[in-house]
């Protein structure tokens, strides 16, 4: 009675089929069956957000979705953000602002930020704090992460293709790594991320 359940899911634009155990989560199937290990397993109770992916255009904790539930759906993981070796403006901003420290939470942070920017073209700082409240960072890199999302929004990250190539080929002048970055010392504590 617990036979494998056949699913067909579009993952990062590519149609994938799998026979999944009914008790396996979307996260397990992404990582173990499809080899997409960018999404991370951590708390398994929907508190940390390390497993965040987009399912049918909305961010979800993939540890709280059965793989069978995703049948017929469309999934975007961190592996699907960059296209043709070109990072998105959001990913570029994470690099420029030093948002990634150990990096474990970053795939989830990126997906939550990506989801936020698809619905909020010009998010406020409060929008970013709320949009990322389900993603914990044990390195406490919140300040840089929030600055990166705000910078990417200012640069029109929703288009998603403004980033520069990571294979060394540059399309034009590289923006200064410190351009438009506010002086961290000028940010009052009250504006720092909630966690």
């Amino acid at each position: 009675m617990t036979e494998p359940y056949p699913i067909q899911v579009t993952v990062n634009g590519r149609m994938r089929t799998a026979r999944v155990a009914p008790h396996h989560t979307l996260l397990e199937v992404l990582r173990d069956d499809l080899g997409l290990t960018g999404s991370k397993e951590c708390c398994l109770v929907g508190e940390c957000g390390a497993c965040t992916v987009m399912l049918d255009g909305r961010s979800v904790d993939s540890c709280l979705v059965l793989a069978a539930e995703a049948d017929g759906g469309e999934v975007l993981t961190v592996e699907g953000l960059a296209a043709d070796g070109r990072l998105t403006a959001l990913q570029e901003a994470f690099l420029e602002y030093g948002a990634a420290q150990c990096g474990f939470c970053i795939p989830g942070q990126l997906l939550s930020a990506h989801a936020l920017l698809t619905t909020h073209e010009h998010p406020t700082r409060a929008d970013v704090e709320e949009g990322l409240a389900g993603n914990l960072c044990r390195c406490a890199g919140y300040q840089q992460i929030i600055e990166a999302v705000l910078a990417a929004a200012g640069a029109g990250a929703a288009g998603g293709t403004e980033g520069r190539r990571r294979d060394g080929a540059q399309d034009g002048p590289v923006p200064s790594a410190h351009s438009d970055r506010p002086d961290p010392a000028a940010t009052p504590d009250a504006q720092v991320a909630p966690q």
Partner: protein, 287 residues
């Protein structure tokens, strides 16, 4: 996770057959509570019945005559953003907006929040003050259950085996009303409530107050005296009326997240604040 079989019925009768059948069955809507229970072994069904293939259970929100009908598959994020909910049922929008994180609110349904019957369910107080009903279908047919009769105790509802929630109905407000949801958590951001409450004030001075996380189930109390909203009444009279409303709170000494003393103290503070804000909202002032 222990193995189980997965079914995704296309019709209500098929779902009811599965849920009422011989095998132990668990209904799956958003899954944000169920999958945690499946993983920690606190829920051990032989079959998980996914309700998301059933078109008769709506994902949307619509007005039907004198009621707002929230579909059994409507998720928190959509409820919190819905313009009709925000206009006529602001306390529910506020409550739906603080359930978990965005990722949780994109999956979690209002119906699931009710069926899990957590004493701390954030949407319960708002549904209680708005006099909501739960529309239920099961082997014996369809019935409506007032939300106040739906909660029985921690994790226990009035549902019988085979029954499932297809919608939640809220009567449209007959007159001017102001309502507010407030909660107390251990930290800003994503947390379960130590106290969660809603207040609705009607034009004639009637006050409906509901509070959760201070007893085995959320409690609804009402005051029709008008004392609480009458600026001419004495502070002592108002305090005494409020004490009567809060007397049903019974936080357990074994409760999680906060001591009973702290919960009761914060319940008073939040109830006073919410009452003041609800009166302001009724009068059309920003609150």
């Amino acid at each position: 996770m222990r193995p189980f079989s997965y079914e995704r019925p296309r019709t209500l009768p098929a779902a009811i057959d599965l849920l009422a059948g011989g095998a132990s069955a668990a209904a799956l809507a958003g899954g944000t509570d169920l999958i945690i229970g499946l993983r920690d072994g606190s829920v051990r069904p032989e079959v998980v019945v996914d309700l998301k293939g059933i078109d008769e259970i709506e994902t949307g929100i619509q007005v039907d005559g004198d009621r707002l009908v929230i579909g059994g598959r409507a998720v928190m994020e959509d409820i919190a953003a819905d313009p009709r909910v925000r206009r006529d049922f602001m306390a529910l929008a506020e409550a739906a907006a603080v359930v978990g994180s965005v990722q949780i609110r994109n999956r979690a349904t209002l119906a699931g929040n009710l069926c899990n019957a957590s004493p701390a369910a954030d949407t319960a107080p708002a549904l209680l003050v708005y006099d909501a009903s739960v529309v239920v279908v099961g082997p014996a047919g369809s019935r409506r259950i007032a939300v106040d009769d739906f909660f029985r105790g921690p994790g226990t509802t009035a549902l019988v085996p085979g029954e499932l929630v297809t919608a939640i109905e809220l009567p449209l407000p007959p007159a001017r009303r102001g309502a507010v949801h407030l909660r107390r958590t251990r930290r800003r951001g994503h947390d379960l409530a130590s106290v969660t409450l809603a207040v609705a004030v009607e034009d004639g001075g009637r006050v409906r107050l509901a509070y959760g996380s201070v007893g085995p189930r959320p409690i609804l109390v009402t005051d029709d005296s008008g004392v609480l909203t009458d600026r001419g009444s004495s502070a002592e009279a108002r305090a005494s009326a409020m004490e009567r409303l809060l007397a049903a709170a019974s936080p357990s000494p074994r409760s999680m997240r906060a001591s009973p003393e702290y919960r009761l103290a914060m319940l008073r503070v939040l109830a006073d604040r919410a009452l003041g804000a609800a009166v302001q909202r009724m009068q059309g002032q920003p609150a």
